[in-house]
Amino acid sequence: MKQSTTIAVAMSGGVDSSTAAAILAHEGDGSGVSHNTVVGLTMQLWDQRRLAGKHGIPDTPKAGRCCSLDDVYDARRVAEHLGIPYYVVNQEERFERDVVRPFVDEYLAGRTPIPCSLCNDHIKFDQLLRTARSIGAERIATGHYAVNEFDEKRGRWILKRPADVAKDQTYFLFGLTQEQLARTLFPLGHMTKPEVREAARQHGLTLAEKPDSQEICFVPGGDYKQFITAYLEEQGEAATETAGELVAANGEVIGRHAGIHNFTVGQRKGLGVASPAPLYVLNIDPSSHRVTVGADAELATCTLRARRLNWISVAELTGPMRVRAKIRHRHEAAWATLEPAGSDEVLATFDEPQRAVTPGQAAVFYDGDEVVGGGWIV
């Protein structure tokens, strides 16, 4: 008989993590363990009141943002309903240091960050796992849509795309180490979103119909530019001067812009210049603050380089490998050949040119449904 384990479920107050908690509390983790001790944990990551009302940020945080009181309340009500112990743990300092500050700095450096991946790497699967272990839970579970399985042959934990391809969150999870994967459960990996909502109803969760959150959790109202301005002001930092020239691909200066953090590669709106054909951001130069714009066709590139790599299905990349590469969350993974390019760097060459390869985003490589690994686009 297997020993019963204590599992800490990261509960955000949303349908997914609530249902994950309900499944574990009632059905076990599918490995034959029927009597889990399940503990609910919610991380207090960001005080939504901090920047409320400043620079156009709404006064009252909406539900669906991290750490809004409504979401903590919802998570607590689910835990009460399931009869599991529930705690809120304060991770505000770490979240600001490892997620919010890098998010702001990346934009100011002309890149387009993914805070969700930073949060997964530094908070959920690092600090939360540590907290879980320190309270006696050797494993954590989350409501991510991903499959995590141990492959005996390779002796490795393998991260795979979930049953619900539309909800696939593996792109945000490429940074998980073998140690982290070994201690993580994704109870929703084999379910579709409608099945999850149905399971939520079956378990009597009143939030079964709660809408999904879409935006960056700590950016109320969803306008990251307002957030950056308000955050820098709160920090007493003069809004870093990143204004500069807007130039055409041929180098001709066609206007000025108020700061490079307002742009992302591939962006069309808000360029502030009139043109007969639509213009897109092609490149952001953090040193000269120059933003190059041009036609859509000029956004296409055949290669990308990625650094700060993490490998999952392989121990390391030793030679060229055929993969499908995903360069942003909503990108359809495209065929590419991957090859090592020096220490901790890879070169991916796409079969077909890809639109808007964006520094700061992750490149995640797939072999069929398996995540081979990934890195950060430079």
């Binding site: 503990v39 207090q44 903590v72 743990v89 540590r130 907290t131 320190s134 006696g136």
Partner: protein, 391 residues
């Protein structure tokens, strides 16, 4: 699982005698104490009887006892009811938030507010209070000064020198309020000796019901009511009397007075001392505020190199209920403002836990805690040796 409750400073269970005393006042004796009929008179008699008990407890006249909803209301009433724009308010940086947030609001409304910090051992120096008092200088009228200091600190248990502060207040002819929520029922109590004009207590900290408390208001103190309406409580506090609650408070106070006299506190102090010594045997621990006089049931321990929040959860899952820091709006832990005012840094404050024993605590309870704590601390430190330094 055996559960040991070591969080008596948060709240306490009703004593059976209190439950019994309250029982008739929900259904049989349900009258409104303001009504002139039989049912009303029964309720009135119960409230008056409790008032008599409270007067014995405070050492005051019955007319000087005002029932209310608890400690926060008492603290708020003292501050909002006495101070006007231009007045002066002197309090300490280790008060309960019921005083601190009220002080902030007073500052917004034009009251000059001074927060006196404690010494490293958690004690307020009465001379600091004396120095903070400024002569009445308001033009065209007398300027009021109110001093508010707690009897015992909720997190460290440190007993403040209220008698000396009362003497200073009398010399300077300023008003003095004591937040006695944590001290009441744990030490000998006499508002005449304390020299205060106002004093707030709460029932649920002394094994009475939640949602009821009382305030001593010295005769002649120009206190405006916080809640207005009917002429209850001699127009000092409107709202239909919470008769069962008041009866419960009266009974709890009666029993608390006995336990201060009958050796209970000495027994609890011995248990607390054994608990404290046992925990301090763990390397890298210190007791916060242990050098000062303290109430018998409380000890506050700093565990170097760990996160108090995780230790609270780990201990709860092992059946030991303690607390650390103060709960923020979401229910997660923030560093204790009390410990930080005593000079601990944020990490040390976050790594400190409060153990506060019930009067009914036993040797077996302490044994259980002393088995659970060292194991949990060792486990936490083994997992996150770098936590405290990297936080």
């Amino acid at each position: 699982m055996r559960r040991v409750y070591c969080d008596a400073n948060a709240t306490t269970p009703l004593l059976p005698e209190v439950m019994e005393a309250m029982r008739p006042y929900w259904m049989e004796q349900f009258g409104n104490a303001s009504s002139i009929h039989f049912q009303g008179q029964k309720a009135r008699a119960a409230v008056d009887h409790a008032r008599e008990t409270l007067a014995r407890f405070f050492h005051c006249r019955e007319a000087e006892v005002v029932f209310n909803s608890g400690g926060t209301e008492g603290d708020n009433t003292a501050i909002f009811g006495l101070l006007r724009p231009g007045d002066q308010f002197i309090t300490t940086s280790i008060e309960h938030s019921a005083v601190l947030r009220a002080a902030d609001r007073m500052a917004e409304r034009g009251v000059e507010v001074t927060f006196v910090a404690p010494k490293r051992d958690g004690l307020i120096d009465p001379e600091e209070i004396r120095r903070a008092i400024r002569p009445a200088t308001r033009l065209g009228g007398s300027r009021r000064t109110l001093v508010s200091v707690m009897l015992a600190n909720n997190e460290t248990g440190v007993l403040q020198p209220v008698e000396e502060i009362g003497g200073i207040a009398a010399d300077a002819k300023v008003f003095f309020h004591i937040d006695a929520v944590q001290g009441a029922g744990k030490v000998a109590f006499d508002v005449r000796r304390f020299g205060c004009h106002l004093c707030s207590i709460s029932a649920h900290k002394i094994q009475g019901p939640k949602g009821v408390g009382a305030m001593y208001v010295r005769r002649g103190t120009p206190l405006e009511p916080l809640i207005v309406g009917g002429s209850h409580e001699r127009r000092q506090r409107a709202g239909t009397e919470n008769v069962p609650g008041i009866v419960g408070l009266g009974k709890a106070v009666e029993l608390a007075m006995e336990s201060v006299e009958d050796g209970t506190m000495e027994r609890i102090a011995a248990l607390r001392d054994r608990l404290e010594a046992g925990i301090l045997a763990i390397p890298g621990t210190q007791a916060n505020g242990a050098g000062a006089p303290r109430v018998a049931n409380t000890t506050n321990i700093h565990f170097e190199h760990l996160e108090g929040e995780a230790l609270v959860i780990a201990l709860d899952l092992k059946g030991v209920a303690v607390s650390g820091g103060s709960a923020c709006h979401s229910g997660s832990t923030e560093p204790s403002h009390v410990l930080m005012a005593m000079g601990l840094d944020k990490n040390a404050a976050l790594a400190s836990l409060r153990f506060s024993l019930l009067k009914t605590a036993t040797d077996e309870d302490v044994d259980h805690v002393l088995r659970a704590v060292p194991a949990a601390v060792e486990h936490l430190r083994a997992l996150a040796p770098e936590t405290a330094s990297s936080f």
